[in-house]
Symmetry: C2
DNA sequence: CTAATCATGTAAGGCGTTACATGATTTT
DNA sequence: AAAATCATGTAACGCCTTACATGATTAG
């Protein structure tokens, strides 16, 4: 009963919205899923092969641009069932990895003013992300994707989360920068 | 010039606050660093060996409880320098992995009421975390760790971040749950 | 004519987890 | 007497990135 990896389910999520080649899945994975899940094509191709072997996807092969065949993948009924079941299964907690927080823990061992610049740069990045997310949210709001039932609701909901988090992180980074600036070491 | 991994720097951060055995580092890594960085002892022991080989830490060996020697590690001057330099170096962006957001993206393919329960359970977990963080923040505030210069400031600053994020995430989970409940599929 | 895009794969190596292995001391 | 804690390691395996490899079509 070959278990499917999270990446496998991510691909099933994408294929649920429409058939794609592996190449296309890599492109579609960049936005908006790339904000909370990423994978390179080198991971995607073998994973698609595993999903096909498990009977969760099928493909139609045609002639491709390169020396190999181009394969267009679709979810099978088993794939849709597996996806629906996975969606309502609580996720195992993942190990968090946040290098900026790790650095913050040891802030006493660093030069304050150089460290403050780090937080300002991070704040600027978050501000830029925030602008990106907000513009995408506007588009989705205009399209009426603010409720479940609308096909864009998944995107809308994740964007709302992203906006809330980026706001907090930007504010926290600015607070760190100003706190360090007020207190040179 | 053997490059040091993020885990290596995490260990240097801990050793900067006091010498430890590998076992003790694993324990100290659980809280509060465990909130934003984790590692098992199976990763820590080889990493300490690499740090020692690179001259960033030294150890004093004594007789241990088991068949092997117990080693107490300390940062060297080179280790402290490497740490100070790493702290002010911008981190390379990490690939985010958030299974709940991935599921949210595909929410249209799931049963609404079962999915709503998932968000409620997640919200409850965040509420519990929030209570934990708040109680620790109170202790640190009482200890006067609210400004840089105080040795507990690193903990204080990361807790403030954690509280802000957990609040947002809890609120977002509750919003998702109620939005799905209002709109059964 | 050059670069980008479309399209699919393999191989080597780092990071991280789980399971395996040993054995003294302290607590229940 | 049993369980937890202290203490250190190795081995196998999965996940993920970087580099390697091929070649047609389209846009500048």
């Amino acid at each position: 009963m070959s278990t499917v990896s999270a990446l496998g389910y991510a691909l099933l999520c994408l294929l649920d919205r429409g058939p794609s080649t592996g190449y296309d899945l890599a492109r579609r994975l960049r936005r908006p899923i790339g904000y909370y899940w990423t994978a390179r094509h080198t991971q995607i191709y073998p994973e698609l092969a595993r999903l096909a072997a498990a009977g969760l996807v099928t493909y139609q092969a045609g002639s491709g641009p390169g020396p190999r065949q181009k394969k267009t993948y679709t979810n099978t009924a088993a794939g849709r069932d597996a996806l629906a079941e996975w969606l309502v299964t609580p996720a195992a907690p993942r190990a968090p990895k946040d290098e900026l927080l790790l650095k913050t823990y040891a802030v006493a061992a660093a030069d304050s003013s150089r460290m403050a610049r780090l937080y300002l740069a991070a704040a600027a990045e978050h501000a830029q992300r925030l602008a990106e997310y907000r513009s995408q949210l506007t588009d989705l709001t205009d399209a009426g994707a603010t409720g479940p039932g609308h096909p864009g609701f998944g995107n809308y909901a994740t964007l709302r989360y992203g906006i809330a988090i980026e706001q907090q992180r930007e504010a926290w980074c600015r607070w760190m920068a100003s706190t360090l600036a007020d207190h040179p070491s």
